[in-house]
């Protein structure tokens, strides 16, 4: 579910992708500074509101979180056992759980879940093409320092178009080599890693050959440079963006207020 666009008509779908990217970045950045329960409560509230505006069921997000559970558990353990302080709640051999450790661990889980779900809300409601256009638009100022923004954006959109194709290709080559006895689970570490070459080399070669074909196809359709082109997808801000900006502004102010009080 994570990283996947699901078509829909809810409110958040009508917000400009640039707004959504900026809000996500601001939100994630602010979370770095969250260190009190009220701050987390506020951040959770903001996330909850965002999720409601995606119009998708909560079960979807739960299924999205599940696969990253092991990572969460790993991080929690790290916090539990490596944060010092008192009082000590549990002690066995060299393992020691303290109250600050426990609180830290809870914070970490919460922060992690908040970040993941926020970016899920972004990708769920924004098709990849729109993300590519949004990045191009947001990066435009960098043209002043000679960053090839138009080229990067075009490459990104071509790359995104090729991802599903190369995924299928990977699956095919993997199956073909498995049929010829490829095994990634036996032998020494080095041997096992070298065993991926019969999978990766055809994948690289195939991709390079596709690139030659695609370049030809682009050339005959009149492509000359990434710069002198008009755009089919034009982004425009609307009423929703104003509302989203105001809402986020309010959240930022409240959040900074809470941090300051603390």
């Amino acid at each position: 579910v994570i990283g996947q666009f699901i078509p829909g008509k809810a409110w958040l779908y009508r917000v400009d992708p640039r707004t959504k990217i900026l809000v996500t970045v601001v939100y994630v950045f602010l979370l770095i500074f969250a260190n009190t329960w009220p701050a987390y409560a506020l951040a959770t509230l903001f996330l909850a509101l965002t999720l409601v505006l995606t119009g998708q069921s909560l079960g979807l997000y739960w299924r999205g979180i599940k696969p990253v559970m092991w990572l969460i558990i790993f991080t929690v353990c790290l916090q539990l056992f490596f944060t010092g302080g008192t009082p000590v709640l549990f002690h066995w051999q060299f393992l020691k759980i303290t109250l600050p450790g426990l609180i830290n661990a809870l914070y970490v889980v919460l922060r992690f879940v908040l970040i993941v779900l926020m970016s899920t809300a972004l990708t769920l409601t924004t098709p990849p093409t729109a993300i590519a256009s949004a990045i191009e638009s947001l990066l435009k100022p960098l043209k002043a320092i000679k960053v090839p923004v138009a080229e990067l954006a075009l490459m990104l959109s071509i790359a995104l178009r090729f991802v599903p194709l190369l995924m299928l290709e990977t699956d095919k080559v993997m199956k073909a080599q498995k049929s010829r006895g490829m095994s990634l689970s036996t032998g020494s570490l080095i041997k096992r890693s070298k065993a991926v070459l019969p999978l990766l080399i055809p994948l690289f070669i195939g991709a390079l050959q596709r690139a030659l074909d695609l370049a030809n196809a682009m050339e005959v359709r009149g492509f000359e440079s990434a710069d002198n082109r008009t755009r089919y997808r034009v982004l425009s801000f609307s009423k929703q963006d104003l509302v989203a900006a105001l809402g986020t502004g309010l959240f930022v102010l409240l959040f900074i207020g809470l941090l300051w009080i603390n």
Binding site: E169, K172, V173, K175, A176, Q177, K178, S179, R180, G181, M182, S183, S185, L197, P198, I201, P202, I205, G206
Partner: protein
Amino acid sequence: MAINIEGLSFHYGAGKNVKQILDDINLTVEPGQITAIVGQTGSGKSTLVQHLNALLLPSGGQVVVGDQVVTSKTKEKALGPVRAQVGMVFQFPENQLFASTVLEDVMYGPKNFGKNDEEAEALAKKALIQVGLKEEFWQHSPFDLSGGQMRRVALAGVLAMDPQAMVFDEPAAGLDPKGQEELLDLLQELKAAQKTVVLISHQMDQVLALADQVVVMQDGRVAAIEAPDQLFLRDRQWFLDHALDLPEPVAFAKDLEDHGYHFDHLPKSVADLAEQIKVQVN
């Protein structure tokens, strides 16, 4: 070596998003015969054949390859022997080449299945001769060869494993008429060598000419299993319903039947059709 498919079902996903791909498939791939699998794109042909060498494990039912049983619970480790016995040639198999010489690429399979360098090389050379790739190319990079030659190297890569059965998914796709003809000859050679052959094809003329048994797939189910000269006796509507073409001689014979002609047996080729027409004209 026979392959038995018993009550096979296969689906992706879970809960509400289950996508049923195959449903209650029962069939026997007869040893030493050519079994053709036909059906429109999306009917489940490719998914079905991937069960024959345990690339996919059944969601329900079982696949019996020789004396090995593959079910949903079969462990990864037990799959090697199945794959060694059933070779798989995917569509456009030249996309799986990777080694820096032709010979090395063809040796990859046998080496993985436990052959030492000498044995693997002997098997590889035999396979390369069988697919008709001249010795002068054996030390070349496979990527310096033409498309048709690369296809042969890839075929040799599977043949060299010396499997009891071989599965081909649209092996002639993209080849020119000469290349197609050579490939069909190879399939017949394999049959003559007592190998079990499974062939996915859209080209009904090939199916009619080669197959001993035809499996028609539709929407993940088996719609018919018959010998070709039985199958193609069915009426035109049946083939329309299953989005299948008729072999050209058969289609033309059916046209002529509307004009009063009668055919004792299904015309297998243009020559056969011509013979049967000749005796009926004055």
